[in-house]
Structures are given as structure tokens and as C-alpha cells.
């Protein structure tokens, strides 16, 4: 009888379990696949031998659509890419366009952008942690984290009118100024959120079941992670302190003091802890930005439909999911020649197979949750 890994995990009385290869299909409709993702699993009884993700169920043809829209029209559509962190997509795109145009944004506009982006990072990480916990079985954490998210979505609704896809960062700056009422809402949220986040940590951090299900699961070494192109909290949990906000600062991030959490265990629990620490660091950044918000203009003068001289540019930012980049090639008109989005979840998903091999197939859901993928971004 083959001495498989499964046999070593489950030594039944009378000998090891026989090797039996089964092909399982997860999705595209599945409560835990974070969207329409199909996973073809090859398992030996319970142990994963291989995973083949099948994507494309949400391919909306965005890149082709963008070639027939003006730059201003593309910005709200980028919201729909990573819909859990819509503002960061706007941010990456407009930074790339402004780099191509050579446009300078006034200081106040840059600071407001940082505030919006970090609030969005809070919302995205809360949702990510909530979904990860829900997949592993801790359903209350999802409800807790969505309740905290509602505070932030209230701020967005007062600011831009929308909760989820808010079109909050536009070409030239931000659409509206932060008035006293919104600033008061942000201060109140910043005071409440740490206490509520401690509730979640109290539920999960020292929880024996959580630790049993997440420690030692889904490990990937630092070299493999870089080779597979992994970015974001999953990479920082493998010991590599890659954060575009520190490495190639954009939009005045160099003015703020914050730490980049790095852990070296690179398992699911480490990725969860990195995200929780990033939530605290985001609160720190927003506090500093609000304290030092400079007076002045919050948007630069940009024509309604800018014509951009021919050129090409690639710019990337640190989105909550990883390094989000846009390549734009312009041809002198107001519509781009080519826009390509470098999507962090698309690249992160490739390492799912490596992380899951040898683990039980009920761990696949936890590993997928720790990668925090968004299908809108993967499929474009």
C-alpha cells in the first residue's frame, strides 16, 4: 500500500489508508470562493495533490472597453475592479495618468487622497479578515467586521455619495473638500475602531480552534513567494518587507511615520496578524494626516477630457490586496491606446497550488481566504 501523506495523517487501525485520487470541483458557485472562482482539486482522500484554478467567469472585457472611453470616463469603472477597495483602484489609475501628464497635485489634495486610501484599506482589511474567519467557521467575526465597516462606509457616503464604489479619487485631486462634519465623523470613527478591532482579536488571536486551523497551514518560502510574484500582506507574512508606500513613495506618503508589519512564519495565521497590524498602522496614518492637513487647493486644474501627448508609463501603488499597477500608453488623443492593469490578486492566486499541496482539502478554504483575492480584479 502506498505510504502517502494522507496515510501518515490518518493512520487507521490495521494500517494506512489506501491511496485514492479523487477530482473535486469547487465552484464557480460556492459560498467560500470569494466570487466566481472554480477550483479543480485533485485530492488523495483528504490531502491536496494539486489545484487548478479556472477563472474568467467574471471577465467583463474592461481593458478593451477602456480603449473606447476617455480617461475621465475610465476612472469610475476602475472602482469595479477590486470592489472591496474601490478607492485604491482609482488612486492607482489616476496616479499613472498624472505621471503621464506630468501633473502636480496640491498638497491638501494629496493628504486627502491618503486619508481616503487608508480608510479604504481599513474597510478592505476588515472585510478580508471577516471573510477569512467566516470561511474557517467563525461566522460572528464576519458580522463584527461588517459592523465596523459600516462606520467607514458612512464616512464615504457623506463624502462622495456612495458606499462601495465611490469614485472618490479623480484626475487632478479629489472631488470634494473635507469639511468640518466629515472630519468630525472620521475622528469619531478613529476613536471607536481600535476598541472594536480588539473585540475581533479577542475572539480569534488566542482561540485554540483558530490557531489549530491556521498555524502551519499554507506555508510558502520567501524565495518562492518572490518568484511567484506574490505581493501584499501574504508576502509580508513571509518575511519580506515590501511595501510600495515605503519603497517608492507616492502622494506624500513619505511625510507620514508608520511601520510595515512583517512576520516570518508565512502561514495563514501570520497573514491574518499582518492584516490586523496594518489596520492599526492605517489608523496611525489617518491620524497624522488629519492633524497636519494643510490648507489650500484640493484639486489641480484639469480639463474635462484631457488630451495626453503620446507616451507610456507604468505606475504601481500598495493596494490592500498587494501591488496594484497600471500601464498606460497614450496616443495623443483623449482616449488611451492601451491600458493594462497589473492585478495583485491575479498573480497571488497562482501561488495557491504551491501553498495548498500537502494540506488537507478543508484547509484550502482557509488558505484562499488568507490570500484575500477579489475576482473582479482577477478577471478584469
Amino acid at each position: 500500500m502506498k505510504d502517502t501523506r494522507c496515510a501518515r495523517i490518518f493512520p487507521w487501525k490495521g494500517g494506512a489508508m489506501a491511496f485514492k485520487e479523487i477530482e473535486l470541483n469547487m465552484g464557480p458557485q460556492h459560498p467560500s470562493t470569494h466570487g466566481v472562482l472554480r477550483l479543480k482539486l485533485r485530492v488523495d482522500n483528504e490531502v491536496v495533490l494539486g489545484i487548478e484554478p479556472v477563472i474568467g467567469y467574471l471577465h467583463r472585457g474592461m481593458e478593451k472597453l477602456w480603449e473606447s472611453l476617455t480617461y475621465t470616463q475610465i476612472v469610475p469603472l476602475t472602482d469595479r475592479l477590486d470592489y472591496l477597495a474601490a478607492v485604491s483602484n482609482n488612486f492607482a489609475f489616476v496616479l499613472a495618468v498624472e505621471k503621464l501628464m506630468g501633473l502636480e497635485i496640491p498638497q491638501r489634495g494629496q493628504y486627502i487622497r491618503v486619508i481616503l486610501a487608508e480608510l479604504q484599506r481599513l474597510a478592505s482589511h476588515l472585510a478580508g479578515v471577516g471573510f477569512m474567519a467566516n470561511d474557517v467557521g467563525a461566522m460572528s467575526v464576519l458580522l463584527y467586521s461588517f459592523e465596523i465597516r459600516e462606520d467607514i462606509l458612512d464616512i464615504f457616503e457623506s463624502y462622495a455619495g456612495g458606499r462601495l464604489t465611490i469614485h472618490g479619487i479623480r484626475l487632478g485631486g479629489v472631488p470634494f473638500d473635507l469639511d468640518g462634519e466629515i472630519i468630525a465623523m472620521i475622528w469619531k470613527a478613529l476613536a471607536d475602531i481600535p476598541r472594536k478591532v480588539r473585540d475581533i482579536e479577542g475572539l480569534l488571536n488566542e482561540n485554540r480552534i483558530w490557531k489549530h486551523r491556521t498555524e502551519g497551514v499554507g506555508i510558502i518560502s520567501a524565495d518562492q513567494a518572490l518568484d511567484y510574484g506574490l505581493t501584499g500582506p501574504a508576502l509580508r507574512a513571509s518575511g519580506i518587507s515590501w511595501d510600495m508606500r515605503k519603497d517608492i513613495p507616492y502622494s506624500s506618503y513619505q511625510d507620514f511615520a508608520f511601520d510595515v508589519p512583517v512576520r516570518s512564519g508565512s502561514d495563514v495565521n501570520d497573514r491574518y496578524l499582518v492584516r490586523m497590524e496594518e489596520i492599526r498602522q492605517s489608523i496611525r496614518i489617518v491620524t497624522q494626516a488629519l492633524d497636519r492637513l494643510p490648507p489650500g487647493e484640493f484639486q489641480a486644474q484639469v480639463p474635462r477630457s484631457p488630451k495626453i501627448p503620446p507616451g507610456e508609463v507604468f505606475h504601481s501603488i500598495e493596494a490592500p490586496k498587494g501591488e496594484l499597477g497600471f500601464y498606460i500608453k497614450s496616443n495623443g488623443t483623449d482616449k488611451p491606446e492601451r491600458v493594462k492593469m497589473k492585478s495583485p490578486s491575479f498573480i497571488n492566486l497562482q501561488s495557491l497550488e504551491l501553498m495548498s499541496k500537502g494540506n488537507l482539502f478543508s484547509d484550502v478554504v482557509g488558505i484562499l481566504g488568507s490570500l484575500d483575492i477579489v475576482l473582479g480584479e482577477i478577471d478584469k
Partner: protein, 180 residues
């Protein structure tokens, strides 16, 4: 009031008995419709951004369970309300159809969000321009994404539609079953 309403879930305006329905059956209708509409079990097909607003509707603040819809089932076999939330692509369309066929009667479909209603902002080669091309839809909820209040309004509209329906016609007269 029972009696003179046009049935909303059969393919014809008037029934063969001249639009009138026996008194006891109309009482039974109202009772069955009441219990159906207050205990819908959604099968949330969360495809894209609208899925997040659907989950927010089910979360603590916009509690959907006060309308009886707390139990989001993962399997279509156990659900009777199919909420299609998000963009349906051509690759996903046969899957949506198959899931709908797996649901048992009586079933209702809510198309949530502009993409499910009519393709949304994506007139492209890979997006199905409206999910009603593959499944019959009862309520269309517009928005990109609709706020939780919008989705709840759509679900309450569906509840009103169910209240107006005549379930006994499906039970006792199988020819009047919904045509798809």
C-alpha cells in the same frame, strides 16, 4: 380582497372559470402566500460588487432576517429565492441557468444591480446584457451597486408580488404552472 385579481404567476390573464376562484381556495391562497413571502430562503449568487452589498444587507445593520430571509442557503436545492447579484458573463450564463433549474418550484428571481438587469456599464464581448436572457426575473433592482435599502425595497416589492399571487392554482391545476 380575494377574487378579482389577475394571477401574476401564470401565463394568462383570466382563468378558465371567468376570473373567479372558490372562496376557500382564495383564503388558502392568502395563507400560503403569506407564509411563502415571510420565509423566503435566498440563494445568494454573489458574483461581483453587488454581492458585497447583499452581504451587508444580511449583516448586522440592515438585518435581512427581520424579513424572514436570514437563511442564505449555499445549495440551490434548498432555496427558493435566487438573488443574482453582479455581472453575468457569457461564461457564467449556463451555470446560472443550471442553478435556476436545480431550484424547486415555487421559486423567484431577483436581478440585483445594473449588470444583472441589463449588462450594466459593460457593453462588451463577454458580458450577458441582462440575466433575463437566461432566467425569468420577477424583480429588477437597479443601482450600481444598489444600497442595502434599495435591495430591501426590491425584496419587499417581491413580497408584495407574492402576496398577490395564487399558489393554489399551481397546486390544484398543474396547467397553470409558470411558463419559463
Amino acid at each position: 380582497m380575494p377574487g378579482k385579481r389577475t394571477p401574476s404567476n401564470s401565463g394568462e390573464d383570466l382563468t378558465s372559470d371567468g376570473g373567479r376562484h372558490p372562496f376557500l381556495l382564495t383564503k388558502l391562497d392568502r395563507w400560503i402566500a403569506w407564509s411563502q413571502k415571510n420565509s423566503l430562503w435566498p440563494f445568494g449568487s454573489g458574483l461581483a460588487c453587488c454581492a458585497i452589498e447583499m452581504i451587508a444587507t444580511a449583516a448586522a445593520r440592515y438585518d435581512i432576517s427581520r424579513f424572514g430571509m436570514e437563511l442564505f442557503r449555499a445549495s440551490p436545492r434548498q432555496a427558493d429565492l435566487f438573488i443574482i447579484a453582479g455581472t453575468v458573463t457569457n461564461k457564467m450564463a449556463p451555470v446560472i441557468r443550471r442553478l435556476w433549474e436545480q431550484m424547486a418550484d415555487p421559486k423567484w428571481v431577483v436581478a440585483m444591480g445594473n449588470c444583472a438587469v441589463s449588462g450594466g456599464p459593460f457593453p462588451t464581448y463577454s458580458v450577458l446584457q441582462g440575466v433575463d436572457k437566461v432566467v425569468p426575473v420577477d424583480v429588477y433592482v437597479a443601482g450600481c451597486p444598489p444600497t442595502p435599502q434599495g435591495l430591501l425595497h426590491g425584496l419587499l416589492t417581491l413580497q408584495e408580488k407574492i402576496a398577490r399571487s395564487h399558489p393554489t392554482k399551481d397546486i390544484f391545476n398543474s396547467d397553470a404552472r409558470r411558463i419559463d
